[in-house]
Every structure is written in C-alpha cells, then in structure tokens.
C-alpha cells in the first residue's frame, strides 16, 4: 500500500438528475503524474474536487496514504489544489499568499520565512514577494498558486486545468516548468485537463473520462497506440484519426474493406488471415491515424487531394478516396503536392485499429 498514494473506489456523485461521476475507481502511485483527461463536463473536475475534499461523494471511498478520508474535510487531508483561476488572494501580498498554509502548522516566523523564500526563489517569485497579489500578471499568479501549495508539502498536488488561461508561448514554458518541479520535488501530481496534447506530454499515466466514467487508463503510449474504444481513439491524437465504416473481408490473403460504395483494398498480402476470422462479415469501423497513411507511388489506394492544411512543420492533406471517403494524411513540408493531384497511398496495417460498429469498443489491435 505504501506505493499507492491515492485510491478511489467506486466513487459516484450526482448533482440533481445529472450523474457527474459514475462509479469511478483508480489508483495513483507515489511520485507519478496522473492525468484526468476528457471533454468539458466529463466529470474530471468533480473527481478532482472529491479527491481534494471539496465535494463529498454520494457513494464510494477515497483513500490517501492508506487512510480512509472520504468523510474528512479538505483541511484534514494532505492535499493541495491549484484552481483553474488560481484563486490567489488578491488583498494579500505574494509573501502572505505563499505563507498562508504554513500559518496553520505551528511554525515560528523564521521557519516560515525561510521556506517561503526558498520556494519563491525556485519559482522566480523572489522579487515579487512584497507586491499585492492582485497587481501581478496571470502567469505570475499561477506560480504563486503553485508555490502556495508546494510550500505545505502535500502528499498529492492537484492541478485543475492549470494551463488553460495562459497564452501559447507561456504554456510551452510552464509545461516544462511543471515537469521540472515535479521531478525535483518528487511530488505526486493529479492533473485535470481537456487538452490531450498536454496530457500526453506531461503524464506518466492518463485516465480518459467521458460522461462521468473512466474509459481507459494507461500510459500515453498505450492510450495512443491501443485506444480501447472509438472515443479514446478520436479524442487523443492530432490531427484526428481517420474512421471508415464497413465490413472487412479477406480473400486470397488480401484484406479488403467493403465500405458502402465499394471495396477498399487495404493490403495485398496478410500473413495471418485467421486473426480476422472472428470479425469476418461483421460491421466494423476502421481507424487509421494520419501518420499511418503514407504517400507511395506503389500504394494500393488512389485518391485526389482536395485540401491542404499547413500545420507549422507538417502538412495535412485531405484526400478523397472513393466517392465519399475523405482521409487525412500527415506529411512533411517537403512533399510537393497541390490541390487536385492524384496520388497513391499505402496504409500501414500494423497500426490499424478496428472497432465494433455498434459499441465502439476495440475488437482487434493489430499489434
């Protein structure tokens, strides 16, 4: 148990008729960065607040450091929460803000001062200590909010969408800062966000949530390469995964997808066709990530470029294959193509994702 710093068991929380958190359970290991990722309203913030002690669950249990804290108030838990809007106390100085939590710990003045100044220096706030918190900028306020938490040495640091309010350049920097702080303090972090890129870059493990439920828990690699259902596959990954409906068939070791308008030849040689036996003639949805479609003059698929999107150091080609099917293909900037070009594509089948059409659940993963 000493490795597990937080355990949630069957947590459910309702607001009126809405079930915000629906039977959520997971463990968080000491020292890891654990993210709750999902769209707005999926219950991630409510779950965080339940961990913090600001909401009481309707059922289920919360264990922190092995102790059942379900009914304990937030001041009795060794956690600290950095709010989305930082909630820095505007009428107090930066120093008083950071020192706030220490005043309840029966430390003498010198000790408090020492700790506050240490943290302030680490977070580049030492010049601002005597300034009123309402007068500093947003990213400084965020650092104050974080410092305020770090200084009380909580078992778990809870962050509620900390980067949402910052602009892009600062976001970049703060991501690195957060990672650095986390490694330095070896502190367990639970991180709530709707930005999948953020979650992927910062986390050791991610819990993807939707409509109050946990859909999948795994490392960023696992979530990305083995999404357990359609929701996770489409939510994670940018540009969004390509999805095609149809029925898979194998004949002569050739893999084909019968999709409405006709047959798409996915591969002309499959080593082990038996793998597909259980889904023969079943209605499925195929998922192919844009980076798994490659421009290849010898490829099996042919299509016409309808639209080109420039994304910084890459391009996304929107290619029409087969009457109504549009595929997004990722490529680098050096590829010379223009709209209207006819182009041949090859699909990397080892990264093919197959989902059941009705349930959205993953059927086979090609790995």
């Amino acid at each position: 148990m000493s490795n597990i710093v937080l355990r949630l068991e069957n947590i459910t929380k309702r607001f009126g008729d809405l079930v915000a958190v629906n039977n959520v359970s997971f463990d968080v290991k000491r020292g890891e960065v654990f993210s709750l990722l999902g769209p707005s309203g999926c219950g991630k913030t409510t779950t965080l607040r339940i961990i913090a002690g600001l909401e009481k669950p309707d059922s289920g249990k919360v264990y922190i450091d092995g102790e059942d804290v379900t009914y304990k108030s937030s001041r009795e838990r060794k956690v600290c929460l950095v709010f989305q809007e930082y909630a820095v106390f505007p009428h107090m100085s930066v120093y008083d803000n950071i020192a706030f939590g220490l005043r309840f710990k029966k430390l003498n003045k010198e000790e408090v001062s020492k700790r506050v100044r240490e943290i302030a220096e680490l977070l580049d706030l030492d010049e601002l200590l005597s300034i009123r918190a309402s007068k500093i900028g947003l990213s400084e306020q965020q650092r104050v909010a974080i410092a305020r938490c770090l200084v009380v040495e909580p078992s778990i640091l809870l962050l509620d969408e900390p980067l949402t309010l910052l602009d892009a350049r600062i976001k970049e920097r703060m991501r690195r800062e957060l990672r650095r702080l986390q490694r330095e303090f070896k502190i367990t972090v639970i991180y709530v966000t709707h930005d999948q890129l953020e979650a992927m870059m910062l986390s050791d493990r991610i819990a993807v949530m939707n409509k109050g439920r946990i859909i999948q828990i795994g490392s960023p690699k696992e979530i990305y390469e083995k999404p357990s259902n359609l929701f996770v596959a489409t939510f994670v990954g940018s540009p969004t995964i390509n999805l095609i409906e149809g029925v898979l068939r194998v004949s002569n070791n050739r893999l084909m997808l019968s999709a409405g308008n006709g047959d798409i030849l996915l591969s002309d040689y499959i080593e082990k066709p038996e793998v597909f036996r259980e889904i023969f003639n079943k209605e499925v949805i195929i998922g192919v990530r844009p980076e798994d479609i490659i421009i290849d003059p010898g490829g099996l698929l042919q299509g016409e470029i309808r639209y080109i999107e420039a994304l910084g150091d890459r391009m996304v080609l929107h290619i029409n294959v087969f009457k109504s099917i549009m595929l997004r293909v990722l490529t680098d900037l050096y590829t010379r193509v223009s709209i209207g070009d006819k182009i041949r594509l090859r699909i990397n089948i080892s990264n093919l994702h197959i989902f059941d059409k009705v349930s959205g659940e993953r059927i086979i993963n090609m790995r």
């Binding site: 607001f15 009126g16 009795e76």
Partner: protein, 294 residues
C-alpha cells in the same frame, strides 16, 4: 454543501454549534418579541391597549374592521372627517414604492457603472448625490410644497414617486458601485475586444455579478419609500395618501388608536415581506462558474 471536520464525538464542534444556535435564537427572540406584541395589540380592544400583556383578555377583530370600514372608524373619531378604508392607501403605497424603486435603481445602475469604469460622472457628482441624504428634512418641506404647487404635483402619486426616486437614487448608486468595483475590469475588456457592444458587455458580464447589489439597494429603496412619512404627510391630502400617512390619521381627541395603528402596520408590512421573500435568492452569488450544476 459544506464539509465539516470529521469526528463523531468532536466535543468542541458540538459546543460551538450549540452556542451558535443559541445566539441565533436570541436574535430571533429579540426581533420576535416586539412583533408578537404588535400582533397582540392589533387584537386588543380599546381598554387593553395600555396593558403589558402579550395575550389579549378579550381578543377582538374590531381594529381590523376599523381599517376597512369608515363608519366604524368615524364612531371613534371625535371630528367629522371620515377616513377612507385602507385599501386605497395600500394601493397608492404599492404604486409609489415600486415605481420609485424602479426609477432609482434603473438610473442608479448606469450611474454606478459609468462612475466605476469611466469616471463618468466623476467623484464630485457622486459625493453630491450623497448630499441628498444629509439634509434634515424639516426645512426642505416648505419650499418643496411651494414648488410642487406650481407644478401641480401636490396630492399626486407622481409627485411622491419623483421625490422618492430623487432622494434615494444615491443609495442605488453607492451600493451597486460597490459591487461593480469588485468585478475585475479585465473580463469586460476581453468582451469588448471580442467585439461586444458596451450594452452587451453590461448584460453578460456585469449584471450577473452586480445582481445582489441591485437587489439589495432595490429592496432598501422600496422599504424607504414604503415607510416614509414626513413628506407623504405634507404632500398628500386625499388622493395620493400612502399607508404611513393613513396610519398617522388613526388618532382621536383622546389619543392614538393604537390597536388600529398596529393592525394597519401589520397589514401594511405584508407586501414588503412578500417581495423580500421572493427576491431572497438573488441576494447570494457565492457560486463559482461551472461548479454548481442544476
């Protein structure tokens, strides 16, 4: 909902709660006792008005009947003037107080907003509006009467409405401004940059947060207008008589009709009570965004 510290047998918490509720109870009694006495007074017959008891010996509805029936009333009044039933003054009070409140709050809101965000009107004007509440009313009355005579606003609800609105608009301005000042300017600036017109900005950003201020000042102004006596007494005679004036008329050659006054005051306090109860929920905006789902 509030999380409380855990521990079933937390003695300290129990004692604190007991003290807390006892103090609340004390305040309830502090308010309720005189109110109970007014209620009992309203049911006491003439002979018992000057007694200490909280329960009338011979309870009667006479005082209430008196309010609505001039004939019963004139039996008490030594002079021949027949006092009207209380219905008209009640209606007048409702009209005067509501309209005056709407005008005062409507005007006051925009003044508060302009003053808070753009210094328009400036601090001098703001202070100047406070002057309206600093003047002892007694000597203002005579010039006002003369002025109103020339404007034909005597004994006219409009005259009262305008006076009350003018006299209490400063309440609205100062209270609402207090709330608007506490809203970070950045929110409105962002909205303006996004292309919203100033009026929209007010509606979407400012109004929700200033709402308690609007409601509180509105309530006070309504109450001020509802209970005002001096100017109403002087400026009205028959048509526009308001409730407090009517109450003051329940006086005979041998002294005030305490029972009738009590009954009238109780009935007269009902509309404000109802309004106050209805708007109570607007007095509180402690919720942060998105964390309370309905």
């Amino acid at each position: 909902m509030q999380m409380v510290d855990s521990g079933v047998f937390n003695m300290r918490r129990i004692i604190i709660n007991i003290i807390k509720y006892m103090v609340i109870l004390f305040f309830i009694l502090w308010i309720a006792i005189p109110v109970a006495w007014i209620i009992s007074l309203s049911f006491k017959p003439y002979g018992e008005w000057r007694t200490a008891s909280f329960i009338p010996n011979k309870p009667t509805l006479d005082n209430y009947i008196m309010l609505f029936s001039p004939r019963v009333l004139s039996a008490f009044i030594a002079y021949t003037a027949v006092i009207e039933p209380i219905t008209r003054p009640m209606i007048n009070s409702v009209i005067v107080a509501s309209v005056a409140t709407l005008i005062a709050v409507g005007i006051g809101f925009f003044v508060a907003y302009g003053a808070s965000r753009y210094n328009s009107p400036g601090p001098f004007t703001l202070f100047f509006t406070l002057l309206t509440r600093m003047l002892p009313p007694a000597t203002f009355v005579t010039p006002l009467v003369v002025y109103y005579t020339t404007l034909s606003l005597l004994d006219n609800v409009i005259g009262l409405i305008l006076l009350y609105a003018a006299a209490s608009v400063t309440y609205a301005i100062w209270i609402i401004k207090g709330f608007i000042d506490s809203i970070p300017v950045e929110w409105e600036e962002v909205a303006l940059i996004e292309g919203a017109k100033p009026i929209e900005v007010i509606r979407r950003v400012v109004l929700p947060i200033a709402r308690p201020g609007i409601v509180v000042s509105g309530l006070f102004i309504f109450l001020l207008s509802w209970t005002e006596l001096l100017f109403a007494l002087v400026l009205t005679s028959s048509q526009a008589v308001t409730l407090p004036v009517q109450i003051s008329k329940y006086v005979t050659g041998v002294g005030p009709l305490y029972g009738a006054q009590a009954a009238a005051a109780l009935i007269g306090s009902l509309p404000p009570v109802i309004i106050g109860y209805i708007i109570q929920r607007h007095l509180i905006t402690g919720f942060t965004f998105g964390l309370v789902r309905t």
